[in-house]
C-alpha cells in the first residue's frame, strides 16, 4: 500500500478527515452539535468560537431530549477547510459534547429558519406587502390597521429575499431564529 493513501474515516471525531488543508477558500458549513444540557454548555461552545477566533453566522439551541437532558446546537460557521476541521476537532474535545456532525459534508440536509417581520404602512404599500406574503407563503400572525406581523419559514436565503422585499414597504422590525438543520433520509 502507499503510505500516503490511508483511508479517511467518516466519524466526526476522526482526525483522518484530511481534505485539502492548503485551500484558502472560505466555506460555509452547518454543524449539528449534540450536547448534555448541563449548566454552561452553551457558553462552552460559543466561548470556543470567540476564544479561538472562529465565526458564528447563525446559532440555534434547544433541548431536544428531555429525558436524557440532551440539547442540539446548530451552528453555521465559515472558514477555510483547515479551520472547519479544527473547529470540529475542538468541539469534539469539549467534555459534554457527544457528537459533532458536519451537515455540509455528510450528505444532503434540510435547513430551515423561522422569521417574524413587522411591516408598518398604509395604502398601496400595505396591499403589496400582503400580496408578497401570499407569494412567499408567509402567515399573518398579527394585524392592526397600520401594521402586519408576517411569519415566514424557509431557508436563510428565502428569509433574506423576503426581507429585501419588505424593506421598502415599511419593514420596522425583524426577528430570526437562526438555522435548524437535519440530514435528509433515514
Amino acid at each position: 500500500m502507499s503510505a500516503l493513501n490511508i483511508s479517511k474515516g467518516a466519524s466526526s471525531h476522526s482526525a483522518y478527515e484530511l481534505r485539502d488543508s492548503h485551500s484558502q477558500t472560505i466555506e460555509s458549513h452547518t454543524l449539528a452539535i449534540l450536547v448534555d444540557n448541563e449548566s454552561g454548555v452553551l457558553a462552552r461552545v460559543i466561548g470556543l468560537f470567540s476564544g479561538r477566533g472562529y465565526n458564528i453566522e447563525s446559532l440555534t439551541v434547544a433541548e431536544v431530549d428531555h429525558a436524557d437532558h440532551r440539547s442540539r446546537i446548530t451552528v453555521v460557521t465559515t472558514g477555510t477547510p483547515a479551520v472547519i476541521e479544527q473547529i470540529k476537532a475542538q468541539l469534539g474535545r469539549i467534555v459534554p459534547v457527544h457528537e459533532v456532525h458536519d451537515l455540509t459534508v455528510e450528505g444532503p440536509s434540510v435547513q430551515r429558519e423561522l422569521a417574524l417581520f413587522k411591516v408598518v404602512g398604509k395604502g398601496d404599500a400595505r396591499i403589496e406587502a400582503l400580496r408578497l406574503c401570499e407569494i412567499f407563503r408567509a402567515n399573518v400572525v398579527d394585524s392592526t390597521l397600520q401594521s402586519f406581523v408576517f411569519e415566514l419559514t424557509g431557508t436563510p436565503e428565502k428569509i433574506d429575499a423576503f426581507g429585501d422585499l419588505m424593506r421598502p414597504l415599511g419593514l420596522r422590525e425583524l426577528a430570526r431564529t437562526g438555522v435548524a438543520a437535519l440530514a435528509r433520509g433515514a
Binding site: S14, L18, Q90
Partner: protein, 592 residues
C-alpha cells in the same frame, strides 16, 4: 462528637465530609491549599482527620504550581483547595499553565452559598465562568447529593485522554448540607473516553515510512511522558532497534535518556543545531506526542520542507492544527508505539541502512559544530558554566529539576541531562514566571528524600518568593539555584536583537540581598560570584540539610544561543553574538 452515632446510615454525611471521603477514595495523599470563609467547613473536616496531608501555601498561585510539580513528578493528579473570589482568581494562572502543559489537577474552590450566587456577595466571583476556558472542564455543584459523583467524574476527566486541570466550585451551603455519599464503584461508565489504540492502517503507513526512510527523525514531546513509563520504555526500544535519531521538545525531556547514542538534544527556538537541522533536512518526521508549537516550527512555510510527517497524538485537535501531516494517528502513545513496534518487528525489523548511515554522517558533522560552546571566563561566572558545574556535581543522583521562565530555563534545558521521565518540571506552553519555586516544593512533597533543585532567574524567582515560607514550614529542603544577572535576561536579549538595544524596563533594580533574605526565612543563603569558588559553593548547597537560596552572580549580558529568530526557519539559526547583526526583520519582530 462522632457523627455516625447520630445518623443511622454511615453514608449520610455533609458535603464537606464527602469531599474528604472522595479524595481518600481516589488515593489522594496531599492537598495544597489556603483557607477562607467559603471553605471553612472543608477545613474543619481536614482538621479532624490524619489521612490526607494539607500543605498551607502563601498564595493560591503557589498552591496550583505545587500541585503541578507534584503531578508531573509522580504521574498522579495534584489536588488544590482554595476559597471563593480572590482564592479562585489567584488560582487562574496555574490553571492555564496546567491546561497548556496537559497536567492533571483537581481544584476545589469554595463559593458563596447558592442562595447568594448572583448578588455580588462578599468574595463572590463567577468562578466557573472565569475558569471555563482555563480548565479541561469545570462544575458548579448546587446539590450535596451530586457532590461525590461530581468529584469522581472530575478525577476521570482530569486523568483520561489528554490530561488537564478541572475545577469543582462548591457553595458553602452545599458543604454544610447532608446527603448520601455515592462511592466510586457506583459511578456509571463515563461516556468521555478518548480512543487509545491507533488506526491499524495508519500504523501500517507509519511502519512503511520507518522501513524506507533515508533521513528519519523522531520528534517527541510531553505526550510521551503523560502517557506513562510504558510509553517511555517503548520509545527507548523503538529508538534502539531502528537506530533513528531522536530529538524532543522542552516538555518531553527525559522520555529518552540524554546519554543515549541517538539523542540530538532539544529542538526549537533555543534547541541544538543538530536537532533543528535534522528536523529541517529529514525525509520522514515521526512526531510522537508533540504539537508543532510555534517555539518548535519557526516560519511555518519553511518548516521541514522535504519531509513526510507522521503525528501520534491523543487529541484530535492537535493534528493538522498547525502543520498538515501525511499520517495522522489518533491514540495514546504507549498503545500506538506497541502497535507500531509489533508490526515493524513482524515485518522483519527493516530499515534503510545505507540511507541511515549517510544521515548519521551528516548529523555528526552538525554535532561537530558544538553549538553549545561558549566563551569561558575566569573572572565572571558564565550561566552556562554554572549549569555545567551543577550538572557535574549532581550527576548520578536521583535529581529533580524545576525552572522558572527565561534564559536560565533554556540554558537548563540545554546543559542539564535528563535520564528519566518525570524529573524535569518547567512551564512550557504558558511560560509562567514564578512557576519554579512552588513547583519545586510540590516535587519535594511527593519525593521527600530526593534532591530537588529549582534553576531560577532572580526576576522570575521574586514572583512567588513568598513560598519559601511554605518550604520552611513543611521542611521541604528545596535548593533555589538563582542565576542572578540583575536583568530580565530574555527580555534584554530580545531588546538587544530586535529593539535597537533600548533596554526598556528590563533590569532588576532594588534587588533584595538573597543571603539575608534566606536568613530572614530561616534557611541557608549562599552567594557566589567567582568561577573558582563555584564548585565548593554548589557542594555546600547540596550538602545542606534544608532549603537553600543560592545567589549565583553571573555574567549580566550573556545571550542564549543557539537561537532561531522569530519568523525564521530552522536552517537560519544564530549560533552566537557574531551572527546577530540585522537578522530579524520587521515581520519577525511582531511575533512573540
Amino acid at each position: 462528637m462522632n457523627k455516625s452515632l447520630t445518623t443511622p446510615d454511615l453514608n449520610m454525611m455533609t458535603g464537606a465530609q464527602m469531599i474528604l471521603r472522595a479524595l481518600k477514595e481516589h488515593g489522594v495523599e496531599v492537598i495544597f491549599g489556603y483557607p477562607g470563609g467559603a471553605v471553612l467547613p472543608i477545613y474543619d473536616e481536614i482538621f479532624q482527620q490524619n489521612d490526607i496531608k494539607h500543605i498551607l501555601v502563601r498564595h493560591e498561585q503557589g498552591a496550583v504550581h505545587m500541585a503541578e510539580g507534584y503531578a508531573r513528578s509522580t504521574g498522579k493528579p495534584g489536588v488544590v483547595l482554595v476559597t471563593s473570589g480572590p482564592g479562585a482568581t489567584n488560582a487562574v494562572t496555574g490553571l492555564v499553565d496546567a491546561l497548556m502543559d496537559s497536567i492533571p489537577l483537581i481544584v476545589i474552590s469554595g463559593q458563596v452559598p447558592t442562595f447568594m450566587i448572583g448578588t455580588d456577595g462578599f468574595q463572590e466571583a463567577d468562578t466557573v465562568g472565569i475558569t471555563r476556558p482555563c480548565t479541561k472542564h469545570n462544575w458548579l455543584v448546587k446539590d450535596t447529593a451530586d457532590l461525590a459523583t461530581t468529584i469522581h467524574k472530575a478525577f476521570h476527566v482530569a486523568t483520561t485522554g489528554r490530561p488537564g486541570p478541572v475545577l469543582i466550585d462548591v457553595p458553602k451551603d452545599v458543604q454544610f448540607a447532608t446527603a448520601l455519599y455515592s462511592p466510586l464503584e457506583n459511578l456509571p461508565t463515563q461516556r468521555y473516553a478518548p480512543k487509545l489504540a491507533g488506526d491499524t492502517e495508519a500504523i501500517e503507513a507509519m511502519v512503511v515510512f520507518m522501513e524506507t526512510a533515508e533521513r528519519p527523525v523522531f520528534y517527541t514531546g510531553g505526550g510521551v511522558i503523560n502517557s506513562g513509563p510504558k510509553a517511555c520504555a517503548l520509545l527507548r526500544e523503538l529508538v534502539a532497534e531502528t537506530g533513528f535519531p531522536i530529538t524532543s521538545t522542552l516538555m518531553g525531556l527525559g522520555a529518552y535518556p540524554a546519554s543515549g547514542d541517538a539523542w540530538l538534544g532539544m529542538l526549537g527556538m533555543h534547541g541544538l543545531y543538530e536537532a533543528n537541522l535534522a528536523m529541517h533536512g529529514c525525509d520522514v518526521m515521526i512526531n510522537i506526542g508533540a504539537r508543532f508549537d510555534d517555539r518548535i516550527t519557526g516560519r511555518i512555510p519553511d518548516f521541514s520542507p522535504f519531509s513526510k510527517k507522521i503525528h501520534v497524538d491523543i487529541d484530535a485537535s492537535s493534528i493538522n492544527k498547525v502543520i498538515p501531516v501525511e499520517v495522522p494517528i489518533l491514540g495514546d502513545v504507549a498503545h500506538v508505539l506497541e502497535q507500531a513496534l509489533t508490526l515493524w518487528r513482524a515485518r522483519g525489523s527493516k530499515v534503510n541502512r545505507a540511507g541511515l548511515a549517510a544521515w548519521w554522517a551528516q548529523i555528526n558533522e552538525w554535532r561537530a559544530v558544538k553549538c553549545l560552546s561558549y566563551k569561558p571566563s575566569a573572572k565572571t561566572i558564565k550561566p552556562q558554566y554554572a549549569l555545567e558545574r551543577l550538572e557535574a556535581l549532581t550527576k548520578g543522583k536521583d535529581r529533580y529539576i524545576t525552572t522558572e521562565v527565561g534564559q536560565h530555563q533554556m540554558w537548563a534545558a540545554q546543559y542539564l541531562g535528563f535520564e528519566n521521565p518525570n524529573r524535569w518540571m518547567t512551564s512550557g506552553g504558558l511560560g509562567t514566571m514564578g512557576y519554579g519555586l512552588p513547583a519545586s516544593i510540590g516535587v519535594q512533597v511527593a519525593h521527600p528524600d530526593a534532591l530537588v533543585i529549582n534553576v531560577a532567574g532572580e526576576a522570575s524567582w521574586l514572583m512567588n518568593m513568598q513560598e519559601m515560607g511554605t518550604a520552611m514550614q513543611f521542611r521541604a529542603p528545596v535548593k533555589q539555584f538563582i542565576l542572578n544577572n540583575e536583568r530580565l535576561g530574555m527580555v534584554r536579549q530580545w531588546q538587544e536583537l530586535l529593539h535597537g538595544e533600548r533596554y526598556s524596563q528590563s533590569w532588576s533594580e532594588s534587588l533584595p540581598d538573597f543571603v539575608k533574605l534566606a536568613e530572614a526565612f530561616g534557611c541557608k543563603g549562599i552567594r557566589c560570584s567567582e568561577p573558582a569558588l563555584l564548585d565548593d559553593a554548589i557542594q555546600e548547597m547540596l550538602d545542606y540539610d534544608g532549603p537553600v537560596i543560592f545567589d549565583c552572580l553571573v555574567e549580566k549580558h550573556e545571550n542564549c544561543f543557539p537561537m532561531i529568530p522569530s519568523g525564521k526557519p530552522h536552517n537560519e539559526m544564530l549560533l552566537g553574538d557574531a551572527d546577530t547583526q540585522g537578522v530579524i526583520g520587521a515581520k519577525g519582530a511582531v511575533l512573540v
